[in-house]
């Protein structure tokens, strides 16, 4: 088991990592990199299957255990299976006009198909409304969490104000009286917000990026060399 669960995976990791690094420098090996990339993309599609399988397993268990709210698990399952069936079978999808005799030749999400209907009237409103809820949470967080506790917090809030006001018409209203070509035009809110973004934000973000890149480089190296193997399930 040790070979199957440790040695071989570590070997695969090392080979895959080294191939990707080499393909960046040696054009003749870029084909290897290409294959590795294509394999990865296919695996990424298989990962969706794994996700779906996990979902099925979890909710079937909930239903069979009759846990509280198991009826909702039933809703999840029905929706999952119907979407899957409608999409894989291309129910109601029109074939490609060049090959009208081949049922599967058309666009999966083509307008008018059942799958498109699910997207347009179920998936789209639900996910975008979920996301839109954040506007409300942001407001409540602003009221409760953003406190000028110390100098650092004041800097954070001050910048947030400049950006919030400078990026709308409020900025023009508040500081529009400063002539645009005078010595103090930089103090107009809309210009100030650009200045803050290009100087302070760029400096901070740049340092964060350099730091993270170093962190990623060293973690990657540890992974490829087999020093860091926590992703295989344990720290040692």
């Amino acid at each position: 088991m040790q070979i199957l669960t440790r040695s071989i995976p570590l070997f695969i990791t090392a080979v895959a990592g080294v191939v990707m690094i080499l393909s960046a420098f040696f054009p003749y090996t870029s084909d290897w990199g290409k294959f590795a990339g294509q394999f990865f993309n296919i695996l990424a599609a298989f990962a969706f299957v794994l996700g779906g399988g996990n979902l099925l397993k979890l909710h079937l268990k909930k239903i069979s255990d009759q846990r509280p709210g198991w009826a909702y698990s039933g809703v999840v399952l029905v929706c999952f299976i119907v979407t899957l069936f409608v999409g894989l079978m291309k129910i109601g999808a029109y074939p490609n006009p060049t090959y009208p005799n081949v049922h599967f030749s058309g666009e999966t999400q083509g307008s008018g198909s059942m799958f498109w209907w699910f997207y347009e009237y179920v998936f789209k409103p639900l996910t975008s409304t979920m996301f839109a809820m954040l506007a409300f949470y942001v407001a409540s967080a602003a009221f409760r969490a953003f406190r000028a506790k110390n100098f650092e917090a004041i800097l954070l809030l001050g910048t947030a104000f400049i950006v919030l006001l400078g990026r709308t018409f409020a900025g023009v209203l508040a500081t529009g009286w400063i002539p645009p070509d005078s010595a103090f035009s930089g103090l107009r809110l809309e210009n100030l917000s650009v200045y803050v973004m290009q100087v302070f934000n760029t400096a901070g973000t740049r340092a964060i990026m350099i730091g993270i890149a170093l962190g990623i480089a060293s973690t990657s190296m540890k992974i490829i060399l087999g020093i860091d193997r926590s992703f295989l399930g344990s720290g040692d």
Binding site: S30, G51, A141, I208, S218, T219, I223, L225, F231, S234
Partner: protein, 456 residues
């Protein structure tokens, strides 16, 4: 290498401006009205040490003076193979045929393998004759008359090209084109020389990390500064024990291929160990099934090393759903019901950071967060008691594990930062001196640093 459009425009304007003077002054002569002389000695070569697709073109300037020229137009034509050859050329057989030819050439003439391959490939197909009329050729652009060299980029690596060049007078009249260059295939070199600085940087950073890991394994003490957020872990776990409530640990919402998730699992190991020592309950809902597996392994070994294997309960570490907002909806609901005393958010977070931190705040938990996603940091910084910012988060996993390997790699990263700092300080000093003095040699030094050492 590409010249910016602004520069080109400026040059063109400058050329035009001087031309205006010329027209007024030289109105008695009519030399500028006649088409300019053609440039000569056109030579095209595949650029060595590149990733392919680039051809270096050199020529001797036209006899017409520079200030009477608008520039040179570079013309390229990709040769198409004649129909009967096309069938062969399209698949692997062509490569095989070329390889055989290469071998025979290598045996016979002893030339460099790369050139041999190119020649072999060139000699196999016969090409359709290029059009006589240069207007049917592709124009790669017009470059200022002061230049006598050009790099044609973005060509098809497998294509075969010939080039011509012609001068353009101030009124847009063309000289006769030069004779066509030889047939060039812009092949990829064995090593992409333009990436050499990158390779050196990579080697330096990798070496620094590696050396410090080795030193650490040999027992050299590695001192790392205190990380404020981590000092609070014990406090948070202690408080949870006192209050008799649970600890919630969220490992981000990305899968194990994200390095932040990996770092989060390492931190989880430490938190779980503290929890085991204090006998506090720790709950870990995950958004990915693979993360659940890794988290179980990690927590289990922590309970073992804390000497409390009996207290380990795998059911408290469970998978919820991959869907971002589905996961958040579940976790926030759970938080309102169970009111954990301490919440840890360690990993890759997106929009859900705010919902989690908000809900955690509303149930009055001590919150410690760590992420390298800068967009989510403000919410964590504002709503949590402690936040590990960016690289600190990666460092935390190393710091907590206390393993010599991890600490060594942290030192290696610091070497990287010193290097970056030194390069910036030297570069900025040179550039500033150059800007003040306007010295040419300093300018050359800055250009070398920026364009060669730090890549194109």
């Amino acid at each position: 290498m590409r010249m910016s459009t602004i520069q080109t425009t400026l040059l063109a304007t400058a050329v035009c401006a001087s031309a205006g003077v010329q027209v007024v002054l030289g109105s008695s002569t009519t030399s500028w009205l006649a088409p300019p002389e053609a440039p000569t000695n056109l030579v095209a070569n595949d650029l060595p040490w590149d990733g392919g697709g680039t051809v270096q073109i050199d020529w001797t300037a036209s006899a017409t003076p520079e200030d009477q020229l608008k520039g040179y137009e570079i013309l390229a034509h990709e040769l198409s193979v004649t129909p009967q050859e096309q069938a062969v050329e399209t698949d692997e057989q062509a490569d095989r045929a070329a390889a055989q030819q290469t071998e025979s050439l290598l045996e016979g003439e002893g030339i460099a393998p790369e050139d041999a391959r190119r020649q072999a490939e060139l000699s196999t197909p016969t090409f359709a004759t290029p059009p006589e009329d240069v207007s049917e050729w592709d124009s790669l652009g017009i470059i200022p008359a002061v230049q006598t060299t050009y790099q044609a980029t973005g060509l098809n690596k497998d294509g075969v090209y010939i080039f011509k060049i012609r001068a353009i007078g101030l009124e847009g009249e063309f000289s006769a084109p030069t004779a066509a260059s030889g047939e060039i295939r812009p092949v990829a070199a064995f090593f992409n020389g333009r990436k050499l600085p990158l390779l050196i940087t990579l080697a330096l950073i990798a070496a620094a990390v590696f050396i410090f890991i080795v030193l650490a394994r040999r027992g050299m003490p590695m001192r790392i500064r205190k990380i404020a957020g981590l000092e609070a872990v014990d406090e948070a776990v202690g408080r949870a024990t006192e209050m008799g409530r649970s600890i919630l640990y969220i490992n981000g919402i990305q899968d194990m291929d994200d390095l932040q998730t990996v770092a989060g699992v390492t931190v989880l190991g430490h938190v779980a160990k503290t929890a085991a020592e204090y006998d506090a309950k720790i709950e870990v809902p995950t958004a990915r099934s693979l993360v659940m597996t890794a988290a179980r392994e990690s927590v289990q070994s922590s309970y073992f090393s804390a000497g409390r294997p009996d207290a380990y309960n795998p059911d408290l570490i469970y998978y919820v759903t991959d869907e971002q907002f589905g996961f958040v909806a579940y976790v926030s609901g759970m938080m309102t019901r169970e009111k954990p005393a301490a919440c840890f958010y360690m990993g890759s977070f997106f929009a859900e950071s705010l919902i989690l931190a908000e809900t955690g705040n509303s149930v009055g938990a001590i919150q410690i967060a760590g992420t390298a996603n800068p967009s989510q940091l403000p919410f964590f910084v504002a709503a949590c008691d402690y936040t590990l910012i960016g690289e600190e988060f990666f460092a935390a996993s190393a710091y907590l594990s206390g393993q010599p390997d991890q600490l060594g790699s942290l030192k290696g990263q610091d070497v990287g930062k010193i290097l970056v700092g030194i390069v910036i300080i030297i570069g900025v000093t040179l550039a500033t001196l150059q800007a003040i003095t306007g010295s040419d040699s300093l300018e050359a030094a800055v250009n070398y640093l920026v364009n060669v050492l730090l890549g194109s």
